[in-house]
């Protein structure tokens, strides 16, 4: 019998889906594999490819011990196809098919909808690796470099997971789409990634931390909703991806946290009380808190855009079809069909942002976004605790949903971070205080000098409290290949 907990290594592609006995899909994946390896090799600078990185690799889907740590060269990383164990007698959790047995095969009537969701999800996974490809060159420590690469290889594995679904369940079309996932490329003029936020380069490490905190959290919420899918293979795939995703959130939250910690520390060391003494703070080579707030404003609002329109037919269709659920669907106390429910969303009446009741089914995106905002505010609270503990009078906060939006009812409309409708002139005047300016970017860039000595950290960021895999502070997380 197939061991679904542990990963089979008897094919080129580690998996717990019995690939060795599924010749058709194995063949398809093996055909896709070289393209993937080329993509990977062309992506990240070569000396990092040759370096030994202390990475975790999924060896099981058992929540009690699913990963093992070891040194590995990234191109030799065992990207596998891993699905969470099949729940016994799982039922479709929402929509018009609620209560029916979860689908083990693609229902023909929802083939397109499913395929589209998987493609969009799949498109974001390699995109972030592309966006972050040059960050290794400016890593503030080997610890951070290792975390970056861990995130990268796992995003790569998530791509594998989506490609497996396309190959296994969507036939020739699916294979074509899997090829296109490698053809599109972040920021490419030829074939850009599907979502706007994934076509911007991640220019510096603070952006990387903000990205993993805010944008990967969007990814997490999307995975959470797909984990509720009535299409069981998708649900199982996403459930396992979520275990890995937690680390990405961790990298983001602690990365921003350590940046804040270091800034506070330096301010205290030099007796700076006013967080707005920006020039003085910067003269000590750390990133002032107002600039961190600006970065937060930018990344949070970009991430809100990823949730799409406030009122969405596609989201409604997907929920009602049972293809996509809500965050923690099983914990929600309602009929899970939303036949007569309403949900409050933002709308625009004249110049005024107003709250309006709409059919809950059409507001699925907003519900997920509200859950996201709540989820994202947790870390912000912890950052503020650290600032408070350091005795500095400053609070980070999430800007209002109307601020800096490109999608939805507020798109292109001037609102300030508190959600007040302002004139175009007022916006232009306020913008340098709300969003990072080119000068802010230049300053942050000036700090981005690599630190490759084990146990050492760049001056703008504090060391972590504990090491990865409980390793000591001076552990050599990456054995650099410096040929």
């Amino acid at each position: 019998m197939m061991d679904l907990m542990n990963v089979s290594y008897d094919t080129q592609i580690p998996n717990n889906v019995g690939l060795s006995s599924d010749k058709r899909v194995l063949k398809a994946l093996e055909k896709w594999h070289p393209g993937y390896i080329n993509w990977w090799n062309d992506l990240i600078p070569d000396n990092f490819q040759q370096s030994l990185v202390y990475l975790r690799t999924a060896v099981s889907v058992d929540p009690k011990g699913w990963a093992k740590f070891d040194y590995v060269k990234m191109p030799e990383y065992r990207w596998g196809v891993l699905l969470a164990p099949q729940g016994e007698d799982r039922k479709i959790p929402c929509g018009e098919h609620m209560g029916q047995p979860a689908w083990q095969e693609v229902p023909g009537e929802y083939r397109n909808m499913l395929k589209r969701l998987i493609i969009i999800q799949g498109d974001t996974e390699p995109a972030s690796v592309e966006q972050q490809r040059f960050l290794g060159l400016t890593a503030p420590s080997l610890y951070d470099m290792r975390n970056l690469f861990q995130v990268n290889v796992e995003e790569g594995r998530h791509l594998w997971a989506m490609v497996y679904l396309l190959h296994k369940y969507f036939g020739k079309d699916g294979r074509g789409e899997a090829d296109d996932l490698l053809r599109r490329s972040s920021g490419s003029e030829e074939a850009p990634r599907m979502l706007g936020a994934f076509n911007e380069e991640t220019p510096d490490w603070l952006s990387f931390f903000m990205f993993t905190y805010f944008t990967d959290r969007d990814g997490k919420m999307q995975l959470e909703s797909l984990a509720q899918s009535g299409f069981d293979p998708l649900s199982r795939t996403c459930r396992f991806m979520l275990t890995e995703e937690a680390h990405h959130m961790f990298v983001g939250e602690t990365g921003v946290g350590r940046t804040i910690e270091r800034t506070c520390q330096v301010m205290n060391e030099h007796g700076i009380e006013d967080p707005y003494e920006i020039d003085k703070i910067r003269s000590y080579g750390v990133i002032d808190l107002p600039t961190i707030q600006k970065k937060l404003n930018l990344h949070y609002t970009l991430s809100l855009d990823l949730f799409g329109q406030e009122v969405s037919t596609n989201a409604a269709n997907a929920f009602n079809a049972g293809i996509k659920g809500r965050y923690m669907e099983h914990r929600i106390d309602d009929d899970h069909q939303l036949t007569n429910d309403t949900y409050v969303v933002w709308d625009l009446e004249g110049d005024e942002a107003v709250r309006k009741d709409v059919p809950a089914l059409t507001a699925i995106n907003m519900r997920l976004r509200d859950d996201y905002t709540q989820d994202a505010s947790g870390g912000v609270g912890r950052w503020n605790k650290a600032i408070e503990k350091a005795g500095i009078n400053f609070q980070l906060k999430l800007p209002h949903e109307s601020f800096n939006r490109k999608i939805g009812v507020f798109a292109g409309k001037p609102f300030d971070p508190d959600g007040k409708r302002i004139s175009v002139d007022e916006y232009a005047k306020g913008e340098p205080n709300w969003l990072p300016t080119p000068a802010d970017g230049d300053y942050i860039q000036s700090l981005m000098k690599p630190v490759y000595e084990p146990g050492k950290f760049a001056g703008w960021i504090a060391p972590p409290k504990v090491g990865i895999d409980n390793k000591p502070g001076d552990f050599e997380y990456v054995k650099l290949h410096m040929a």
Partner: protein, 552 residues
């Protein structure tokens, strides 16, 4: 939806389209203002359109012909990022009455046909540059262009998702142009029309859904290049263009309309409208330069514009007037003089455009779903192009002999050379050929009478009119006919007339107006689409259409 729809607009009022003129190429950008819907209750997101958007497009297309004869190639493109056009607005369709949907589709079909035919009629070629999603009515816009270019960014696709998404058809020529114009193999067309996401990249070209697939980085450049190539290969007759000023139009409180050459009188109690066309109020211009100097005021152009507007107005705003009576009054020979000047200069851009416009207006009459009747009275001028109306209508009645107290010139019909090929119907036959499908020799006899005035008895013998009536019978017979007509079911009338009008061969055009539209209108009436639980009504709610699976 009961407000009056005005089909007249001009560039100063556009909300949805922009044109950038660049030598002999025009770039036509669709950039729909989502808050600019004709009615309340929907937003025109993602470059989706309603009748208002299409009225502007029709105006653009018309002005391109008359105001910008220097333009040889029009490049249709999107003014929005990531989307070409999402097609007709679904919420608008969901909320619209059946009659509005049908009128909307008819008008959009006519506009598609107009820019599609612009290349053949006057050498103005429409090409389509597709970047972003191009779905449903969006792809139908592209299909009506004569060259489709698609970017290969691995996302942009062409699609006809109506069937899987909305349980209706791509009814603005979509199904028909895929098979008849682009000649996509029927089984591939079957796949194409069943998949929401459509077809992208190389496959779109392999399946003949587009003419050219271009790498994204070279797309804009290649489109410009192609436009230049087509323009330099074009033999189009060009000129300086004339301005189309607002129509001289007065709408009375009772709904009657008076134009400079057209009068529209309503008889609501009898569900009847009478359209009277006046003969020339000036002599035919002596030279083609004189014609140009007259701008939009030359007789046949002014008459065509006014008649066109009247027909469109009645179709959308006066749906209970089921019987349309055409009359003319004026000097038939003067009509012929104006027509002759155009025919003799048919290579001149303006003469060519006016004649081609008459072809379109007459076709508009052909597909108007009203009982059409013409009265050939004393003093009338059914000559040449105006005589076509006699063979467009369902029945015609002609005065025979002297009428007491009537001193107008004796009723006569004057055929001209233009009646034998200048104004083909949608079936590609002339109205006379369609009329005499079983007796082609009759056409030769009529041809021999070109330039003469044919009075009632001869007209009857030649089969040019339905019935001739003398003084004694005229009033009563016509009254009885009209009362009888008004008593029939409007639906049965529409169906019967549409079937009887288009004898003879099928063309892509007749298949669009006949087959595709008829099926679409049937589906529009079926619960699976428009019932409370139908897919069109439910679209946007997240709940699928609940289909009655019985095949009919």
């Amino acid at each position: 939806m009961s407000k009056t729809i005005d089909f007249q607009t001009d560039p100063s009022k556009y909300r949805h389209w922009r044109v950038a003129y660049d030598g002999d190429v025009a770039n036509l950008y669709m950039d729909v203002d989502q808050d600019g819907g004709l009615f309340d209750g929907y937003q025109l997101k993602l470059n989706s359109y309603d009748l208002g958007v299409d009225i502007e497009l029709a105006d653009v297309v018309q002005r391109m012909r008359f105001e910008h004869p220097e333009i040889k190639v029009v490049v249709m493109r999107s003014g929005k990022e990531n989307v070409f056009c999402a097609g007709a607005n679904i919420r608008m369709l969901g909320g619209a009455s059946h009659a509005h949907k049908v009128n909307f589709c008819k008008f959009t079909n006519e506009t598609r046909n107009t820019f599609e035919a612009a290349e053949e009629d006057s050498g103005q070629k429409y090409i389509c540059a597709v970047k972003g999603a191009c779905a449903g009515g969006g792809y139908e816009l592209a299909l009506a262009c004569n060259y489709i270019m698609l970017t290969d960014d691995s996302t942009s696709a062409v699609a006809l998702p109506e069937v899987p998404l909305l349980a209706v058809l791509p009814g603005t020529g979509g199904l028909t142009r895929v098979t008849d114009k682009r000649k996509v193999r029927r089984d591939r067309a079957d796949i194409f029309c069943s998949i929401e996401e459509g077809v992208k990249g190389q496959r779109a070209q392999d399946w003949d859904l587009v003419d050219e697939v271009i790498p994204n980085s070279k797309f804009d450049e290649t489109v410009d290049e192609r436009a230049r190539e087509f323009a330099s290969a074009s033999q189009k007759a060009t000129g300086n263009g004339i301005k189309l000023d607002p129509l001289d139009r007065k709408i009375g409180d009772d709904g009657s309309i008076v134009y400079s050459l057209v009068e529209v009188d309503l008889d609501r109690a009898a569900h009847k409208v009478t359209i009277t066309l006046k003969g020339p109020d000036s002599e035919a211009p002596a030279t083609i330069e004189d014609l140009e100097a007259l701008g939009d005021q030359s007789y046949l152009l002014r008459l065509a514009r006014e008649l066109d507007d009247a027909i469109l107005h009645l179709r959308s705003n006066e749906k209970e007037l089921g019987l349309v009576v055409f009359r003319t009054q004026g000097d038939g020979s003067a009509v012929l003089a104006h027509e002759k000047q155009l025919s003799e200069n048919a290579d001149h851009w303006l003469a060519k455009e006016i004649l081609a416009y008459w072809k379109r207006v007459l076709k508009r009459i052909d597909v108007t779903s009203r009982s059409l009747v013409a009265l050939v009275e004393h003093g009338s001028c059914f000559a040449g192009v105006l005589a076509e109306i006699l063979w467009a209508v369902d029945r015609s009645y002609m005065m025979d002999g002297e009428f007491e107290g009537d001193n107008r010139p004796m009723a006569a019909i004057q055929p001209s050379a233009a009646n034998f090929g200048r104004f083909p119907m949608g079936n590609d036959l002339t109205r006379l050929e369609t009329r005499f499908l079983g007796a082609p020799e009759a056409i030769e006899t009529i041809k021999a009478k070109t330039g003469t005035s044919i009075e009632a008895e001869d007209a009857d013998k030649l089969g040019l009119v339905t019935v001739i009536l003398d003084d004694i019978d005229w009033e009563d017979e016509i009254r009885i006919f009209m009362e009888e007509r008004a008593s029939f079911s409007p639906d049965a009338m529409t169906g019967m007339e549409a079937n009887l009008r288009f004898a003879g061969p099928e063309t892509m055009e007749t298949r669009i107006f006949g087959r595709l539209t008829a099926w679409q209108n049937w589906i529009f009436n079926r619960p699976n689409a428009t019932g409370e639980d139908g897919a069109l009504q439910r679209y946007g709610t997240g709940i699928r259409g609940n289909y009655n699976i019985e095949r009919v």
